[in-house]
Symmetry: C2
Subunit: 290 residues, 2 copies
């Protein structure tokens, strides 16, 4: 679901972009299992004052974003609500054995597609209401407004039988690696210096890793691979349409994430990522370092 | 979808009842096609201040209502929103050829299950904030808070091949008969004196038919039957767990509904039923009488 006030403000995006984004974040969930999207059902709530033309544009945004990835909108519901929301259900089919969050084992390597943190910086730019003068700024905003679901990469990775666990980055890299660790009953060490950032990210944030580690909504894929399969992954990556970066390893544990800084020091992150229900969305502090 | 402020107010229902009702109104859509419900996906938006205990009760309400009718909740999504909403997708399977809205033909007879108008009176009682002293008042409120989806009746009618078109009464009897007429490309005449009302309805509203004709959310089934099949319907009704009442007939036309009063006079209704997006929800006046 995407909800006005929680996930977007009307002034950030056109109605068509709101509809498209609702589809893209759902498509990303199917990408994270290596599936093929088939059809969607949209439940839309809109204020009675919402213009019919905007409602049509929103609908068009959903339909076109699904169509671009081979899926169709087959039905839905429209009702009145104080604030706009779009709740989309997307049905897909597995291509091979679906990737889950729970298959990571100690010794497996951790990878991520694309770059992380762009969407969070883009969101910050939208919130700051500054004019987006630079090319970098526009690129970052575009990453937030119009994310790319990694459907081809997900299918290729699952089809080749390479991943032991996979999840998409919606709440932030560390938090989503944490979800994967919890489901797998392992810990993970993320190596700060390998976390992939775009040129636009570096132009705006320099070497500050906060958005890359904790910023959500990138919709990249994080996945684990057994050491014996890493050479095959290397060969596959050349055929993928996106970058794949080694960012850490799985270690024995019980669902926690560790950060290793450039000096080799290991610590629990002081901040994890986005929690819808956190009090005032404050950064949370970990209990102690190792 | 059920949305706080649009479909309910928190003080009217417990969280479990809100969850149950979201399921029941969805089950009714499957009843209206004569289907069998299988599994559901719930998308819930809740304010961060919403108590976890209430969220659990809401979830329990969904799960139990689905289970009572043989369906399961298999997944969903939870996100923050200003006001509570529950958007449920329910997947069912056909039992026989599914009933649609578009099969009514001139000469077919129009029937409705149960009684209509109770839920609208119950809602009015809740809105009036009066103490519900009488048994009638409590019965009417119960019809609004906890509607009965007519799954068995829907399946029996479709299974016996009796209905040419069917819809559930969610927006009001006249409005939903209108939906059926539009889809079928016919007109319908509803005979006021036959419209079934409960004893509780008569205790509160006397002979005023407004709620029965225009009040929504009863979740009864309205359906059409070809004259040759009416005797078989008569035999089936004895085995159904609900009343079935003849209320009118289908005539040639193009999607309009007519009312015939006790004196035999035919007129377009001055008021139809509930339209989420009507300006201030005013009763709409028809252009002219026939």
């Amino acid at each position: 679901a995407v909800v006005e006030g929680t996930h977007f403000r009307p002034e950030w995006q056109s109605p068509e972009q709101i509809g498209a984004r609702a589809s893209l974040v759902n498509l990303s969930d199917i990408a994270a299992m290596g599936g093929r999207p088939l059809y969607g059902l949209a439940s839309v709530g809109a204020p009675p004052s919402y213009p019919a033309r905007d409602l049509e544009a929103l609908h068009r945004g959903i339909v076109r974003a699904l169509a671009r990835h081979g899926a169709s909108l087959v039905g839905g519901n429209l009702c009145a609500a104080d604030r706009l929301f779009v709740s989309l259900v997307l049905v897909g089919e597995p291509t091979g054995r679906p990737a889950r969050r729970g298959g990571a084992q100690p010794g497996h390597f951790l990878f991520v597609t694309g770059t992380v943190g762009d969407a969070a910086l883009g969101l910050r730019l939208l919130q700051s209401r500054k004019r987006l003068a630079s090319r970098s700024a526009r690129a970052l905003v575009r990453r937030f407004v119009s994310p790319t679901p990694r459907l081809e990469a997900g299918r290729a990775l699952v089809g080749a039988g390479l991943v032991s666990a996979m999840i998409d980055v919606s709440d932030g890299l560390l938090r989503d690696v944490g979800h994967l660790c919890e489901a797998s009953g392992v810990d993970a060490v993320v190596l700060e210096r390998f976390v992939p950032r775009s040129a636009a990210y570096r132009a705006l944030a320099g070497e500050d890793l906060t958005a890359a580690l904790c910023g959500g909504e990138d919709y990249e894929l994080v996945f684990t691979v057994a050491p014996a399969k890493v050479p095959r992954l290397g060969r596959l990556v050349h055929r993928l349409n996106c970058r794949v970066t080694f960012i850490g390893r799985v270690v024995p544990g019980r669902g926690r994430v560790w950060l290793q800084d450039r000096a080799g020091r290991l610590a629990r992150p002081r901040q994890m990522g986005y929690d819808h229900f956190a009090k005032a969305n404050r950064p949370k502090r970990a209990a102690s370092s190792p």
